[in-house]
Symmetry: C2
Subunit: 311 residues, 2 copies
């Protein structure tokens, strides 16, 4: 049987053991585990990597701990605007959304766009109309309300800054957190897929779009190389076209996944003061979870090993 594998993340940033309560730590680990198990169920039974990454991301989107779906942060106007992207490594088809409200699982909308429209990227009200046409599950504002996120918005407004944070943030802005969720998988048919979803920045203004919904930048999958999902300071990931750059280093410079990821995340991204990380899996099943921040909520699973980590 061919090698299969799955990796997930729930965001990266200044996550320290010293400031994390043991109860919260347990909840994060449980959330990551549930997501891994859901994706694994699909690929271990011969299902597709595409379905697996959707299952894993849906679990994270439904968990208020993570900044995506239900747990999405609030914009400056007190709204929950979500972005998501999915890509199929078999044929390079992709689907993405930006600035979408009221959709329970943005990743499923991105998948519908990829599979059932002639488009690759829809935004705002238009994307919501398409979701309605496709009969995707919607939720009202109350569903997306979480007290913690609301308080984060009030703090952010006082300080006059927009935050990428999805957990908590430092008053002096020394600590940064990037709230995103993502999954990458290789199935037994040799197909790779990547999915990324986010609620964006707390106190987000001006309809900002980060790297998460940009296939080729925050999310990428290509059977020739690897599947990659990013989390971090979006604008810096855009600068480096991070996800496709990793793939290009593998395809054109013949670097291994590990070397390609490390060159981009630990060297090039660090050089321009960008922070965050990626989860990636190549077409041989090698998994890589690399970040240059203090922590990244992450997990991986294959036939021989299950791993969950935070710091």
């Amino acid at each position: 049987m061919k090698k299969i594998g799955l990796a997930i993340h729930g965001g990266a940033g200044t996550i320290r053991r010293s400031t994390m309560s043991r109860i919260l730590e347990k909840e994060y680990i449980k959330g990551l585990k549930n997501s891994l198990v859901a994706g694994w169920k699909v690929i271990s039974k011969g299902g597709s990597s595409l379905d697996a990454v959707c299952e894993s991301v849906v679990i994270l989107e439904n968990n208020p701990l993570f900044n995506a779906g239900k747990g999405s942060v609030f914009t400056n106007e007190g709204k929950n605007e979500m972005d998501a992207a999915i890509m199929d490594g078999r044929n390079l088809e992709s689907g993405a959304i930006a600035g979408v409200m009221g959709i329970k699982n943005p990743i499923l909308l991105a998948k519908e766009i990829m599979q059932k429209s002639e488009f690759a990227f829809l935004s705002g009200n238009g994307a919501e109309k398409f979701a309605k046409k496709m009969k995707l599950q919607s939720e009202n504002e109350k569903y997306f309300f979480t007290q913690k996120r609301w308080e984060q918005l009030q703090k952010a407004k006082k300080s006059g800054k927009a935050f990428l944070d999805h957990t908590d943030f430092d008053k002096n802005l020394k600590n940064k957190y990037y709230g995103t969720v993502g999954a990458v998988a290789l199935d037994q048919h040799g197909n790779l897929a990547a999915a990324t979803s986010t609620g964006g920045m707390t106190n987000k203004m001006f309809g900002r779009i980060g790297d998460s919904p940009l296939n080729g930048i925050g999310n990428y999958a290509n059977n020739k190389t690897a599947a990659i999902s990013c989390t971090g300071s979006g604008e810096y990931f855009i600068k480096l076209t991070v996800a496709f750059r990793i793939s290009a280093l593998m395809e054109y410079k013949k670097l291994s996944l590990k070397k390609a990821v490390e060159q981009v995340i630990l060297k090039e991204l660090v050089k321009i003061n960008g922070d965050g990380g990626v989860i990636a899996i190549d077409n041989k099943g090698n998994i890589n979870l690399t970040f240059n921040s203090e922590g990244m909520y992450r997990g991986s699973m294959n036939d021989s090993e299950t791993f969950i980590g935070i710091y």
Copy 2:
């Protein structure tokens, strides 16, 4: 003195001499020439490639013949929603907008975002708010109304299809046109820049975002390699991460600009049935204008040669 150069485009597609009137042909050539002259004025006097590409694109945005700025096509809802992207090859900084209404010159808004905000990509109302804050020139709906575009929308609505067309379209959809404008330049300081602007698709639905505002896909500049602006079937350009792929082939596989462009546009894009073209200039001043469609409104200028072409 170092080599300088400039190239522009006004869209690609099924453009045939046999169906073009001589008067219209002259108007297109005049429009392209005015754009070239405006950009050339900047770099020939020692100005920056960034200012040159803005000047060239502004001229095209102000010309109702081209699908960008004033000449933007209508969405399904009868609106003019515009996308634009700009990138600075010196530092890989970029700015972009999607789904923006009422801004006279979208490329100047993209430039303001790049230079005066911490963001790289703004959308919709949010981007318009930022434009207001930056005091960019706005125009009312009347300014963007052109009879030809309005009639195109009515035709498109009747056929129930969305069109990428910016000039005219075939009833049987055998003919495709991609309305975009763009400019790339190399200045005497060795700096590259790229700018792309579009009014999108006639009868556009669901807030569709194409490749034009996606830096790394429809627009890219890197002093290490080249500056590139794309025009064509956006979803296919997204599949291949076209602009950055050309740059990656140069950086990682050491291909020349010509070989890199030809591999992506004449081989890989053709293979997946994508059509359109690119204008590109590398850091040595080599200019490349390649398309796999029947025509591309295009022009280029350097110290030794001025070229304008349609078919």
